[in-house]
């Protein structure tokens, strides 16, 4: 069913987060006010990207990353029009011009740059096409999205939005146990590491902000990034449970057996409706 909507309601960072967590394969099509972009994913990893009419063929990408001179680019563009990217890549490797890593790193850098540019898009419509794949002759990559998601969150400047996402600084943070996620692979900033070092269900976000001398906005930005990357979750601070428990008006029955009996009566009644 539909995975479509408006960028005003759902940011590119949130979409990447969803694609990452759901391990989605397909193409995210974003129609902005002046141009459209297509970003393809395989199993939740970035595979390919194209923005507007920009030339994203291998020769142009290698030229942009200074792996090909302007003369070499012209020669390829005039003499190798019919040669696909995969074939061109093999020719360049076999001729000893560059390694496979040079090619993949250049493509990763270009596709990442396309996604970075999308972070600034706040107007437009998006849809996720499960069946749309990159053109057959193009080289695809497999790039983890976590770092891009954190980067996207860093660019998020809307204070109101951050307030909506993290309404209370009196909550605490806890690391999410997700197999396959390693903190070592993440490119965290000094400030993010500082916050990470204080994460503990006993410390409120406010306390972490005080300890690391950050403003409400700064701490919200960092916590938002960590949440979006799926590294942490917001939890009630340990020690607060007792006070909350006291304030909780429970079912007015004598003991747990009576409570269970009451719930079972409710279940029987609702089944019969």
């Amino acid at each position: 069913m539909a995975l479509r909507g408006n960028l005003r309601d759902f940011t590119v960072t949130q979409l990447l987060n969803l694609i990452n967590l759901a391990h989605k394969s397909g193409t995210l099509v974003i129609e902005g006010p002046t141009e459209a972009a297509k970003v393809s994913f395989r199993d939740g990893k970035l595979a390919y990207a194209q923005i507007g009419q920009e030339d994203n063929r291998l020769a142009s990408v290698l030229h942009r990353s200074n792996k090909l001179t302007t003369g070499q680019l012209r020669a390829i563009q005039t003499r190798a029009v019919q040669v696909g990217d995969k074939e061109l890549g093999l020719l360049l490797i076999n001729a000893g011009y560059m390694s496979q890593d040079d090619i993949l790193n250049s493509l990763q850098s270009y596709f990442t740059d396309v996604v970075r540019r999308l972070f600034t898009w706040v107007e437009g419509f998006f849809r996720f096409e499960n069946d749309m794949t990159p053109p057959e002759d193009r080289i695809t990559v497999r790039l983890d999205l976590e770092n891009l998601i954190i980067e996207g969150a860093r660019q998020l400047r809307e204070w109101e939005q951050l307030q909506d996402e993290i309404p209370s600084l009196d909550m605490a943070l806890k690391f999410i146990e997700r197999p396959g996620t390693s903190m070592q692979k993440m490119n965290l900033s000094v400030e993010e590491w500082r916050v990470v070092s204080y994460i503990n269900p006993r410390n409120t976000i406010q306390q972490i902000a005080s300890a690391s001398k950050m403003s409400d906005l700064e701490i919200r930005r960092i916590v938002y990034g960590l949440l979006q990357a799926g590294l942490v979750e917001v939890v009630r601070p340990e020690g607060a449970a007792q006070a909350i428990e006291r304030a909780r008006p429970q079912v007015t029955v004598q003991n747990r057996e009576e409570q269970k009996s009451l719930v079972n009566r409710l279940i029987t009644r609702i089944r019969s409706i």
Binding site: M1, A2, L3, R4, G5, N6, R8, D9, F10, Q14, N17, L18, L21, A22, D164, E165, P167, S168, M171, L227, E233, V234, R236, A241, I244, E245, A247, R248, P249, Q250, V251, T252, V253, R256, Q259, K260, L262, V263, N264, R265, L266, I267, R269, I270, R271, I273
Partner: protein
């Protein structure tokens, strides 16, 4: 006579009133008013400003009340009052309006802060062609795998019953957990 209550909450126009109406044995006591804001008027013409109120009589000693909260944020002062003493709560989310997911998440957090009672999330309007997939909604709403996210059509009694039953099963499971 003993009374217990459950709260049905969620963003504006999520389907809370319709949900309660589907299973209540009395006509839902609704405090609907004409919508004043232009953006909201485009979605529906009347909204709940104080609360909805439905009733299910279990037997001569026990009655279940269903309270629907007002969806508009400017009435959120009512939420804490309504949440007092609740057995559990249901967060309704319109599956066709991703623009409300963030608010739904925020409402969920607010209610969890009021009372750590069991809850379920009902993905309403799952019969619509442009409804989001349940699993996509789970990620968008950042719901843990343990949280029940249930497909629902608020006008369909069967799915509404299922949501209520799943909440009751969660309440029972928590009580069993507390015994250990």
């Amino acid at each position: 006579m003993q009374t217990v209550k459950m709260v049905v909450t969620g963003p504006f126009s999520a389907g809370k009133t319709e949900f309660i109406r589907s299973v209540s044995e009395i006509d839902v006591v609704s405090t609907e008013r004409k919508v004043s804001a232009d953006g909201e008027r485009a979605v529906k013409s009347a909204t709940t400003v104080a609360m909805d109120f439905g009733r299910i009589t279990v037997d001569e000693d026990l009655v279940l009340y269903l309270f629907g909260t007002p969806g508009q944020k400017r009435f959120d002062f009512m939420w804490e009052i309504l949440s007092e003493g609740m057995l559990g709560f249901i967060v309704m989310v319109d599956s066709t309006r991703p623009e409300t997911f963030r608010e739904a998440r925020s409402i969920l957090e607010t209610f969890r802060a009021y009372a750590p009672t069991p809850y379920v999330v009902a993905a309403n309007k799952q019969d619509m062609a442009d409804a989001w997939d349940i699993e996509d909604m789970r990620h968008a709403l950042r719901l843990d795998g343990k949280v029940k996210l249930l497909p629902c059509v608020a006008s369909d009694k069967t799915t509404v019953k299922n949501v209520l039953l799943e909440l009751l099963y969660s309440i029972l499971a928590e009580m069993d957990g507390g015994d250990k």
